[in-house]
Every structure is written in structure tokens, then in C-alpha cells.
């Protein structure tokens, strides 16, 4: 939020400075007009970029309820249906709020590293009144479970949201994306191989040792 305000302030200042002086004539005048045009272009670019500079609020489009003993947790999803590799925000809102409660979340699903399965429930960095996960991606399509182990005024309890469907990743197949991104290193290796073949470095190793 503050970042967006900073950008707007800078944009306004740039524009005011651009409008402040009338363009003088002659070569220096042309230079001045060029600078004014560049400043205006910069101001426009910054104004267009301003939305990208703001931290987006967490938009929940779907919720599910989980009963963990005496606690009811509302699980919020920023996208629905879920897709593999997509950037997701999750919110976990226990009834009565998160004060005086703690616990862990265990995620089970295909392709997840062991060390990433269990974590302490922490406040969502962009929605501090609930627990959550920000910009998380689930690596593979399939069925996923979310298990909550909670502790609070009514003692410890567990509950699981089972079989949340995660669909295939959006966009082209990953193999296509990886092939595209492999072009530069393959090109560099080909360039290196050509230089290697031309110069036969193995024949000159004795100059090194």
C-alpha cells in the first residue's frame, strides 16, 4: 500500500516538474522538449505500473468448512478450482478468531517434498486477522488433504479437509516451456563446443601445469 502511494507521489512530482517551464526555442529548446517528452513518457510508464506496485489484497473466491474437534475452521481459496503450479493464497479462519489458538497444518498430496508438508499455522502476511499461506503452489494435479492440529481454549484437536481436487497446470505442457527456456544454455554450449573444436584445448594443457 505504502509502495503504491510512493509511486503516485513520484509520478505527480515528475509531471509537475515537466509542466513547470515553457520550452525555449533553438537547439537547446529542442533538447528541452525532448527531455519533457521523456519525462512525460516516464510518468506515464510509472502511472501504468502503479497497480503492479501495490500489494494485492487477498481475494477469497471459495470456502470449505473443516471440523477439528470443537473448532470449526473456514478454509478460503483465492482460486477455484485449484490448478497445479498456480500461485494460490489460502486462508484458515477458526471460529472466534485466531487469538489464544495455535496449531500446525499438514498438507498431503502428490509431488510435495517431505520438509514442506508440516508447518506452524501463521498469520497470512496480507490478511493478518487469519492464518494462511501466501503465494503457494501445489506441485502436481491430484487429490490433496489439509490436516489441522489445533490447540486452544477447548484443548487439542485434529481435523482434515480431504480430497481437495487439484487440476492439471494451466498453459502449455511444461515440456514446451522447458524446451523454450533451454534454448539459451543449449546455444551457449553449442558456441562453446565450436570454440573447443576449433582450438583443441587438450593439446595445450602443458602450458598450464
Amino acid at each position: 500500500m505504502n509502495s503504491a502511494r510512493t509511486t503516485h507521489r513520484f509520478t505527480a512530482r515528475t509531471t509537475r516538474r515537466s509542466a513547470a517551464g515553457a520550452a525555449p526555442r533553438g537547439p537547446r529548446g529542442r533538447l528541452h522538449r525532448l527531455l519533457l517528452a521523456a519525462a512525460a513518457a516516464l510518468a506515464l510508464a510509472l502511472a501504468a505500473g502503479a497497480p503492479a506496485a501495490a500489494y494485492a489484497p487477498v481475494g477469497i473466491v471459495h470456502t470449505e468448512k473443516v471440523e477439528a474437534g470443537p473448532y470449526t475452521v473456514t478454509v478460503g481459496f483465492s482460486e477455484w478450482p485449484l490448478r497445479a503450479l498456480q500461485s494460490l493464497d489460502f486462508t484458515f479462519a477458526p471460529e472466534g478468531g485466531i487469538a489464544h489458538k495455535s496449531g500446525t497444518l499438514t498438507i498431503d498430496g502428490p509431488g510435495l517434498d517431505d520438509e514442506d508438508r508440516t508447518s506452524s499455522l501463521a498469520r497470512h502476511p496480507r490478511k493478518l486477522d487469519v492464518w494462511g499461506l501466501d503465494v503457494q503452489a501445489l506441485p502436481e494435479a491430484g487429490k490433496w488433504d489439509f490436516t489441522f492440529a489445533l490447540d486452544g481454549h477447548a484443548g487439542p484437536a485434529r481435523g482434515t479437509l480431504r480430497d481437495v481436487a487439484v487440476l492439471d497446470q494451466p498453459g502449455p505442457p511444461l515440456a514446451v516451456s522447458w524446451t523454450l527456456c533451454a534454448i539459451p544454455p543449449v546455444g551457449m554450449l553449442a558456441y562453446l563446443a565450436a570454440g573447443w573444436r576449433r582450438n583443441n584445448p587438450a593439446a595445450k594443457l602443458s602450458t598450464l601445469v
Binding site: 509502495s3 500489494y55 539459451p184 570454440g195 584445448p201 594443457l205
Partner: protein, 384 residues
């Protein structure tokens, strides 16, 4: 018939253009080399800060300061290299070609339209690719959302692009190895690429390998670059100097990354994540803390090989295998130190095998790369 020229014109030599004068100026080459290095260092600081920001704070936009630092590093290196290519081209056309010291062997580009010092050609190509992959990354974000996966294909493309610029920086300084600034620059530019290599090696994180690919990448590239730098300069103590510089980079990033993340979070009014604990900073913790030991072994084997007259076909692989094994064995020890546990015997055995194999291959390649970078007439893939 005689023609008379106005007084003074006949005996006045043609003035070289400003571009040719700049290309011939002996300060231009070191200035450009250091600007490229400053660009790669800026990228390194930016990526370490950004990774720590994701860990410690979280919320992300295109315009975070760490992102801007990352982009500006490539921009500085790219614009500098482009300027050097244009200067070298102008000098060549004026009949005053620049020497290798201006950034490496000059090579013909686009059928001779440009004459590019090899190091600046590579560094500039990396910066240009960074721009292209930046566009691809924007498209990726439109499909997948913002930055949830560090090792996505466009991110790996961006990291490879930065690595190419870093490799270009090494080539630029290697070409000036006969000067003091060239050797110092080489010793500083190599740790930058060593530090960056595990991020790029994450491209293979989906493969079922017995050891994490970023650890293999660290061992392989640290060994390759240590041996290569030592052989380019030709002095055994260079290995120790590179390892010391790597330690300095690690110490600085260890302090800078969490500090910058916290100060920036304060300045924009964001809290740190709950339950952060006292984990080591993400990226600096992956840099080998005991690289000096590996470098010591590499230096000792070079001295021994020279004294005993061992074959140059064997010594680089020995240096790599021994140095790689020491570095590889140090990685589980480092992890144990940071996490307060003890390395298991199985881990150490696995890492010894990885270090031996990756190190021997690294030594083999390092010697050949060193030859290519030492030879003034090497490496151009285009005919002169």
C-alpha cells in the same frame, strides 16, 4: 597547376572520432570490466535480498526494491557491454583495432558488422536474454499468478541469463590477467558465479537424485571455477584468494539479506512472518563455508604436480576430484552446524562419491576452459 591549402590544414593529422578515442583510452577497458562486475554483484545482492524477502516477509509485486536491484544489475552490465562492442567496432573500422585486454578476443558478429570483445559479447548476450525471459516471465505470471515457484521455466531462463552475464564478466577479466586489475577482478568475479550457481541448478529439482541438485551444482561449479581461475592466472595461491573472496561474499550476504528484508518491510509497513525462528539466511547458507579447505587442496596439488612433473593431462582432474570431495564432504557438516544436528555416515559417503565424480569432471573441464581463456586467438566461433 598548383593548389594551395589554407595554412595549417596540410600538416594537421586527422582527428580520431570520440568513439575511437574512447576505445583507445587505457582506462576504458578496466572501467567497463568493473562496471560489468558491479552489475553482476548488484544482481547477486538483489536475488539474495529477494529470496530472503519471500522467506521473512512475503508480499510481492513487480516493483519491489529487490526486484529493481535484480533488473538494474543486468541493465548496467548489458549497457556497458553494448557500449564496449560499439567502441570496439568503431575502432576496428577506423583501422585501430582494440586488443584482447578490452574484454577478450574480438570476434566478428553478424558477418562482421560488429567486432565484439568475446567477454562483452557473452555478458551482453546474457543481459539481452534477461530482457526476453523477463517478457516470458510476465506471460507466465498472467497464467499462473505471481512468483509462487522459484524454479519455474522462465525463472530458470532468467537465472541462466544472469549466469551467462557473470560468465562474460569472468572472460573479460581473464583477458586482462596480465594486469593487476585483471587478476583482482577475476578473483572477485568467480565467487559471484559460484554463489549464483545453486539457484540455476534448481532447474533439476524435479529429478529423483540422491542429493539435492543445488548442492551438486554448488560442488560442481565451485570446484570448476576454483580450478579454472587458478589455472588461468597460473599461480596456486589464486585458489586461496578466490575462496577468501567467496567467504567475504558469504559474510556480507549473511548480514545484508535479512537486514535489507527487515528494513524494507519496516519502511513499507509490513510485518515479518510469524514463527520465523532463527534459521540461517537462505542463499548465503548454500555457499560453501569451508571453501578454503577445498581451495587449499587444489593449490597444494598444483604445487605438488609442478614439482614432481606430473602430466598436465592428469593434474587438473586430481585437483578437481580432491577439491570437489573436500567441498562435498563439507556441505553436510555445514548443514549440521547450521541446524544443530550431526551429519550421518550415509550422507558423508554419498557426498564423497558425488564430490569425487563431480570434482573430476569439473577439473577436466576447468583445465580446457582455462586454455581457451588464456589463448589470445581462442574461442571465436566465427571465422575472422
Amino acid at each position: 597547376m598548383t593548389t594551395a591549402l589554407p595554412d595549417g590544414i596540410a600538416d594537421r593529422a586527422p582527428q580520431p572520432s570520440p568513439a575511437v578515442s574512447a576505445a583507445q583510452n587505457r582506462r576504458t577497458a578496466p572501467l567497463a570490466a568493473h562496471l560489468v562486475l558491479a552489475g553482476t554483484l548488484t544482481s547477486l545482492l538483489g536475488i539474495s535480498w529477494d529470496i530472503q524477502w519471500h522467506t521473512d516477509v512475503g508480499p510481492d509485486t513487480f516493483f519491489t526494491l529487490s526486484h529493481l536491484m535484480l533488473y538494474s544489475g543486468s541493465a548496467v552490465a548489458g549497457v556497458t557491454s553494448l557500449a564496449m562492442v560499439l567502441l570496439a567496432t568503431a575502432a576496428q573500422r577506423a583501422g585501430h583495432p582494440v586488443g584482447d585486454i578490452a574484454g577478450g578476443t574480438p570476434v566478428r558478429v553478424f558477418g562482421g558488422t560488429f567486432r565484439a570483445p568475446l567477454g562483452h559479447l557473452i555478458a551482453g548476450t546474457g543481459a539481452a536474454l534477461f530482457l526476453l525471459f523477463g517478457l516470458l516471465d510476465l506471460w507466465w505470471h498472467s497464467l499462473y499468478g505471481f512468483d509462487a515457484v522459484l524454479d519455474s521455466p522462465p525463472h530458470i531462463g532468467l537465472f541462466v541469463s544472469i549466469s551467462i552475464t557473470m560468465a562474460g564478466s569472468i572472460i573479460v577479466f581473464a583477458a586482462a590477467r596480465d594486469t593487476g586489475w585483471g587478476r583482482v577482478g577475476l578473483i572477485l568475479s568467480i565467487p559471484v558465479l559460484i554463489t549464483f550457481s545453486p539457484i540455476t541448478a534448481n532447474a533439476f529439482s524435479a529429478l529423483p537424485l540422491p542429493v539435492e541438485p543445488d548442492v551438486i551444482g554448488t560442488v560442481f561449479f565451485a570446484t570448476l571455477l576454483l580450478v579454472m581461475g587458478t589455472l588461468i592466472v597460473g599461480r596456486s595461491r589464486t585458489a586461496l584468494a578466490i575462496a577468501a573472496a567467496l567467504g567475504a561474499v558469504q559474510a556480507f550476504l549473511w548480514w545484508f539479506s535479512p537486514w535489507a528484508a527487515r528494513v524494507y518491510a519496516d519502511s513499507v509497513g509490513l510485518p515479518l512472518r510469524d514463527n520465523l525462528g532463527d534459521d540461517a539466511p537462505e542463499m548465503p547458507a548454500e555457499i560453501p563455508m569451508f571453501a578454503l579447505l577445498g581451495a587449499g587442496v587444489i593449490a597444494a596439488l598444483l604445487v605438488l604436480g609442478r614439482r614432481r612433473g606430473w602430466s598436465a593431462r592428469i593434474v587438473p582432474q586430481l585437483m578437481g576430484a580432491a577439491g570437489g570431495t573436500v567441498t562435498a564432504l563439507s556441505m553436510p557438516v555445514q548443514l549440521a552446524l547450521l541446524e544443530g544436528s550431526g551429519p550421518s555416515a550415509a550422507d558423508l559417503l554419498t557426498m564423497a562419491v558425488v564430490g569425487l565424480a563431480a570434482g573430476a569432471l569439473a577439473g577436466y573441464l576447468a583445465a580446457r576452459f582455462a586454455v581457451l581463456l588464456r589463448e589470445p586467438s581462442t574461442a571465436p566461433a566465427t571465422k575472422d
